[in-house]
């Protein structure tokens, strides 16, 4: 064969090295591609598999109905109390309901794996763990944006919420960052749920505590010092503050500090969630701790 001739002239050692390097590079590229598919395709399939409220009836009631009534409830309550403008409550709640999508969806997306008995087969695969874990977030982020957009749109229809059209792109950006960081909080609760039994109870608790601590309906500044400290160290708080400012006319540059803080908090929670997941995986190999409840 003619194409073997040039190769045979290459010194043995060099040929072997180049070959190995070539193969290794090919292998890494292959693994990278597989990881990307796990992230996108796997993430999407797992969302359908694990998200309890995927059926149309459940989705409309939990993901659209209850957020809508939450926004209406607090805005009317605010009008009655007469303390703040409608926009204060609309923005606070419309951003927070997107957090619900991120938190509950993520908790299901991770903790259900054990509940359904599918964790063992999952951990038996060679799949890139970071891709598996992070892939679960994407559908929840998209869902959070849908829920939040619906909340804003409903407020525009029913509550005369009418921000300056020019502020909408900035508002959208702030909401994206906030949904991502809230999804990271959901990841953390989900990871805890791999070990703890009734983690949905924790998710409920967190959801309602957010109403209080994160400046959704009450200014964080007016809370007692320790509550404010908690509020400022969890996702959502800075995002809501930035969203309000943007609706009042601030530019992205004006609220850069808030957005960066929100993003950093989100990253910190996501890292903690992933580290916890890997810790539980390693521990389960040593102590058989994820086998049964």
């Amino acid at each position: 064969m003619s194409n073997t001739a040039p190769e045979s002239r290459v010194p043995r050692g060099a040929r072997g090295n180049a070959g190995t390097r070539f193969r290794r590079a090919g292998r890494t590229a292959g693994q990278g591609r597989a990881a990307l598919r796990v992230f996108f395709v796997g993430g999407r399939i797992s969302y359908r598999a694990l998200f309890n409220w995927i059926s149309p009836v459940m989705y409309v009631t939990t993901m659209l109905g209850s957020p809508l009534f939450q926004i209406l409830f607090f805005t009317y309550l605010g009008r009655y109390a007469g303390s703040r403008s409608d926009d204060f409550f609309i923005v606070g709640n419309a951003v927070q309901v997107s957090a619900m999508a991120g938190i509950y969806g993520m908790v299901m997306g991770i903790a259900n794996e054990r509940q359904f008995g599918t964790l063992t087969p999952l951990l038996a695969t060679p799949a890139n763990r970071l891709a598996v874990f992070a892939g679960r977030a994407l559908p929840n982020i998209v869902n959070g944006l849908v829920v939040s957009s619906f909340g804003f749109a409903a407020s525009w229809l029913l509550l005369d919420f009418s921000p300056d059209a020019a502020s909408l792109p900035a508002l959208a950006f702030v909401v994206v960052v906030t949904v991502v960081s809230c999804t990271a909080l959901g990841m953390l609760i989900g990871s805890i749920g791999l070990r703890a039994r009734d983690v949905f109870f924790a998710a409920n608790l967190v959801y309602f505590l957010m109403l209080l601590f994160c400046g959704v309906n009450v200014d964080v500044d007016s809370l007692p010092g320790w509550m404010e400290a908690i509020g400022r160290s969890v996702p959502l708080t800075h995002g809501i503050e930035a969203a309000r400012r943007v609706v009042e006319g601030a530019t992205l540059g004006d609220v850069r500090g808030l957005i960066v803080t929100e993003a950093l908090i989100g990253i910190a929670y996501a890292v903690a969630a992933y580290v916890l997941f890997r810790f539980f995986e390693a521990e389960s190999r040593r102590r058989a701790s994820l086998e049964t409840f």
Binding site: G30, Q31, A34, R37, V38, V41, G42, I45, S46, R48, A49, L50, I54, F116, G117, T118, T120, P121, L122, L123, A124, T125, P126, A127, V132, S284, R285, R286, R287, A288
Partner: protein, 322 residues
């Protein structure tokens, strides 16, 4: 080359009992077992409930770290090179859990194809081929929550083979499958080794082990009590014979007395609707039928027969002796 090697594997579990006064408890599930499986071999791991079969498999498939000892698959350590090993092994366990209920069989397989890094180009064809192989073709669009136990079991098998692994671990793969289906699955399992794969199988069905396995290890209380080909294991009891007695309402006392009888190796009682079947294994060269019948005072006796020992008899003798 040995494809699977276990060297003095041990595994203990720590558990706690009691809710108020918690006590920690150590269960020695696997106590130093060693075996080797050659390429293309179908190796059976038999043993009573709780003997440590699943624990052994979990160590081999990298899900559990051995308390001590070593295991290698295709020459790679299952602890050090876990990911390398995972890429090359398939794992099927018995039972109806472990599938995504809300997804169709198709989507379950698509998901795991991604997790195993099956090339997207060949995925459809591979999944089709496997659905055909396990007999789920035509039902693949239905959600798993509507599947029967046997259908789930078939889906487990398809999932374990997605990435065409050279080594396959099957933990009770035919449990809950109807007789015709189980026969088909046995043919499927046999075809795996025919295509060059190496298989480790656990089962509680002795005829299945006899029909499929090239070699068998019998494990009891976490230790291997015998190892060899089905013929070799049978040879251990082949010199004796088996007396089967149908009785109506035999008492535990009588069975105990039978066990003490000189020349009796093992006694098992099978409950069959109105009657029981006593299976008495005896040492060679003895005509014990009369002695046996005389121990069954009072109970009314039906058919009495004597036959050659089977693998099941060999298994029972080994396990009761352990």
């Amino acid at each position: 080359m040995n494809v699977v090697e276990a060297v003095d594997l041990r595994r203990t579990y720590k558990t706690t009992t009691g809710t108020i006064r918690r006590r920690s408890l150590e269960v020695e599930a696997v106590r130093g077992i060693s075996f080797a499986i050659a390429e293309g071999e179908l190796f059976g791991l038999l043993g009573p409930n709780g003997a440590g079969k699943t624990t052994t498999i979990k160590m081999l498939i990298t899900l559990l770290i051995p308390t001590s000892g070593e295991a290698r698959v295709l020459g790679h350590d299952v602890v050090e090179d876990a990911r390398w090993v995972r890429e090359r092994i398939g794992y099927v366990f018995g039972g109806d859990r472990g599938l995504y209920e809300r997804l169709s069989a198709m989507d379950n397989l698509r998901y795991f194809a991604e997790l195993y890094g099956v090339e997207p180009k060949g995925q459809r064809a591979r999944i089709d081929e496997l659905l055909e192989l396990v007999g789920l073709k035509g039902r693949e669009k239905e959600r798993v929550e509507g599947y029967s136990r046997g259908m789930r079991q078939r889906l487990h098998i398809a999932r374990g083979l997605l990435h065409d692994p050279p080594v396959v671990f099957l933990d009770e793969p035919t449990i809950g499958v109807d007789p015709v289906g189980a026969r088909e699955l046995r043919a499927t399992i046999a075809s795996l080794t025919a295509s060059g794969k190496t298989v480790l199988l656990t089962t509680h069905y002795m005829f299945e082990a006899d029909a499929l396995c090239d070699r068998i290890a019998v494990i009891a209380n976490g230790e291997i009590v015998a190892q060899g080909t089905p013929q070799e294991l049978k040879a251990g009891v082949a010199d004796g014979s088996v007396v089967e007695v149908e009785v109506f309402g035999v008492e535990e006392r009588s069975v105990e007395r039978l066990r003490q009888l000189a020349g009796v190796r093992a006694v098992t009682v099978e409950d069959q609707e109105q009657k029981q079947l006593l299976i008495v294994q005896t040492a060679p060269g003895l005509e014990l039928t009369h002695a046996i019948l005389s121990q069954l005072d009072g109970a009314s006796v039906g058919r009495v027969s004597s036959r050659e020992p089977t693998l099941e008899d060999a298994y029972v003798a080994l396990v009761t002796a352990a």
